[in-house]
Subunit: 324 residues, 2 copies
C-alpha cells in the first residue's frame, strides 16, 4: 500500500492499428489524463516509441511527474506477456514481420516497469481490477469486435499458458464440416461466425437463403454491417433477430464447452455486439442452458462489461501495471 | 523440508466403484506399503470409512505409525476438492444420491489433513509430482479409460474452477450434428468416441458400414471391446487401424481446441488406449498439427504417462497430500 500511495498512478496504452491512446489511471479506474497519437504515422518502432514518450511527457507532468507513476501496461495485438514483445502483428507496419521488444523500449525511455499483453487479456484484467469481475477468481471474458478475443482468469490470475499466447477462444472450431474460412486461415472458428464481420456474413447468408422480409434487403449486400443488423434488430426486424438468435446460439454452445475446462463463475461479454443487450444475451443464456453439462447448469453468470467502451481498452491496459 | 523429513509419507486412496486401494507413498513416488478393501461391500459410508481405517492401521504401523504420515489424498469419482466431498457418484452406493463429506470423515478418524479430488485430476497431480510432467507448469492430462477424463494444470496448479468440478474435457462437444449419445445424457461428447466403449462402438460401426476384411468379424458385435480392437491393430488388422486413425484424429482435433485455451507445454495421455503406443499417438499428433492454430504449431509435446498403470491411481491420489 505504501508504494501505491507514493506512486498512485499507472499508465495504460491501448495500442491499435490506427490509434494509440494513452491514459494515466488511478487505483479506482479513474482516468486522470489522456492523450493519443496515430499509430499509422510511424513506420519504425523507434520513431513510434519516441513520439509516444513525447506525448506522454505532457500528461505525466499534469499528474505531478514520473515519480507519481508506478508502471505502464500495454494492450496490443499479438502482445506477449512473458517476453514483453509484440510478435508478427498483421496490423502494425513495424511489427508485421518481426518480434518487437516493445516493453523494454518503453521501460528504457521512462525508467518504470512496463508490461504488455494482447487486447482481450487486457480487457479481462481491466474487468477484474475496475469492472464487473471485481472479486472474481474464475471468469472468462469474451470480446466481440472485429474479431472474437478472450481473456481467461483462473484462481485470480490471467492464463498466459506455456508461451504467453493462451486464451484464443475465438478460434475453437464450432463447425467441423463446411465451416466458414476464418482470418486465421483455418475453417469453422467461433470468430468466423460471432465477430462483427461474422454477424454481417450471417445476415447476408440468411437474406439469400430465406424469403423473410427485412429492412436489410434495402441495402446492397456489401453494405450490410453488424451495425446495420443491430439497428434492424432493435426495430424488431424478423431476419435481424434471427441473426442474433443464430449468433447467440453458437456463443452459448461455445461457452458450454468452455465450462468443461474451467467452470467459471461468470462469462463476461464486451464489444459492439453486446450493445444489443437482451437480444443477444437471451439467446446465449438459453443455448448455454441447453448444451452445458448438468453438473455446471445454473452456476455461471452471464454479464456485460460495465467499463465504458471508449476508455475500457486504456483501463484494461493500465490494469496490467498494478501487478508489475 | 523439515516437516517432510519428520513426516516422510502420504497416504493415497484410489477409490473405485469396485475396489479401494490404499498406498503409503514417499516423496519420490515409492509405495512403501499397500492394502485394499472392497468398496462394494459397504452400503453405508460410515462402515466404509471404518473398514478403511482398520485396513490402514496395519500399513501405517508398517511404516512407523501415524506420526510418519503428513496427510492423505483421495482420488474418487465426482470428488470435490474445495468441499472435500463426493457428490452424486453413480457408482458408489453410499454416494449416488447424496453429498458425502468423505475428507472430513477420514480426517476425524486419522487426525491428519485429508484432500480429495476426482480420479483424472489426481492422475494429473501424480504426473506432476512423480511422472513425466515433473517441472512442467502448464499441461493437460487426458485419461482414456471407461470414460475420458482430464486434469488441467496451469501455472503449476490444478484447475478446479469456481465450483471444484473443472476439467471435464471428455465432455466437449465434437459432433454437433448426429452425435453419439454420451453417458452424461448429452450428445457428441469426446468421451462418446474416444473412451474404451467409444472405440469399441467405432469398430462395430465401421464393421457394419464397410467391407474391409478384419479379424474382428469373427466376433459377435457385442463381444468387441477396445482390448480386441487393440489386439487386432497390433497384428496390422486394417479395420482396427482405421479405428485408431479415427480416434486419434478426433483426439488431435480436440487438443487443437484445448491449445487455444491454455497453450499447454504438453498433452499427457494415460489409460488403456495408450498401450497402442504409436498406433494411437501418431494419428493424434498428425491431426493436431493439421488443426491447431499456426501460433501454437510445433510447441506442445505429446507424451504417454510413465506411471505404472496399476499404481498410478494410488500415486496420483497420494500426490494431493503433499500440498495440504
Amino acid at each position: 500500500m505504501v508504494s501505491q500511495q507514493v506512486k498512485p498512478y499507472v499508465i495504460g496504452l491501448d495500442l491499435g492499428g490506427t490509434n494509440s491512446v494513452f491514459g494515466i489511471v488511478d487505483s479506482r479506474g479513474e482516468i486522470k489524463a489522456t492523450t493519443a497519437i496515430k499509430t499509422q504515422s510511424y513506420t519504425s518502432v523507434k520513431d513510434y516509441v519516441e513520439a509516444s514518450v513525447e506525448a506522454l511527457h505532457t500528461i505525466i507532468d499534469q499528474v505531478g511527474g514520473i515519480e507519481k507513476i508506478k508502471s505502464m501496461g500495454i494492450g496490443a495485438p499479438d502482445g506477449n506477456y512473458y517476453k514483453g514483445t509484440v510478435e508478427y502483428a498483421p496490423n502494425l507496419v513495424w511489427a508485421h514481420d518481426c518480434i518487437v521488444p516493445l516493453a523494454d523500449m518503453f521501460k528504457e525511455k521512462l525508467g518504470i516497469p512496463v508490461g504488455i499483453t494482447n487486447d482481450a487479456n487486457a480487457a479481462a484484467i481491466g474487468e477484474m481490477v475496475y469492472g464487473v469481475a471485481r472479486g472474481m477468481k474464475n471468469f472468462i471474458m469474451l470480446t466481440l469486435g472485429t474479431g472474437v478475443g478472450s481473456g481467461i482468469v483462473i484462481n485470480g490470475s490471467l492464463v498466459y499458458g506455456s508461451d504467453g499466447f493462451a486464451g484464443e477462444l475465438g478460434h475453437v472450431t464450432m463447425r467441423r464440416e463446411n465451416g466458414r474460412t476464418c482470418g486465421c486461415g483455418r475453417k469453422g472458428c467461433l470468430e468466423a461466425y460471432c465477430s462483427a464481420t461474422g454477424v454481417a456474413r450471417t445476415a447476408r447468408e440468411m437474406l439469400e437463403s430465406s424469403s423473410t422480409p427485412s429492412v436489410l434487403r434495402d441495402l446492397k449486400p456489401a453494405d450490410i454491417t453488424s451495425l446495420e443488423v443491430s439497428r434492424a434488430a432493435e426495430k424488431g426486424d424478423a431476419l435481424a433477430l434471427k441473426v442474433y438468435d443464430f449468433t447467440g446460439e453458437m456463443l452459448g454452445e461455445a461457452c458450454a464447452d468452455f465450462a468443461t475446462f474451467c467452470s467459471p463463475e461468470a462469462f463476461i461479454f464486451f464489444g459492439g455486439l453486446t450493445k444489443a443487450g437482451d437480444l443477444i444475451m437471451n439467446p446465449i443464456k438459453k443455448s448455454y442452458d441447453k448444451h452445458v453439462m448438468p453438473i455446471f447448469k445454473g452456476k455461471a453468470k452471464f454479464l456485460i462489461s460495465e467499463l465504458d467502451g471508449s476508455s475500457a481498452a486504456v483501463l484494461g491496459a493500465s490494469a496490467i501495471g498494478w501487478d508489475l
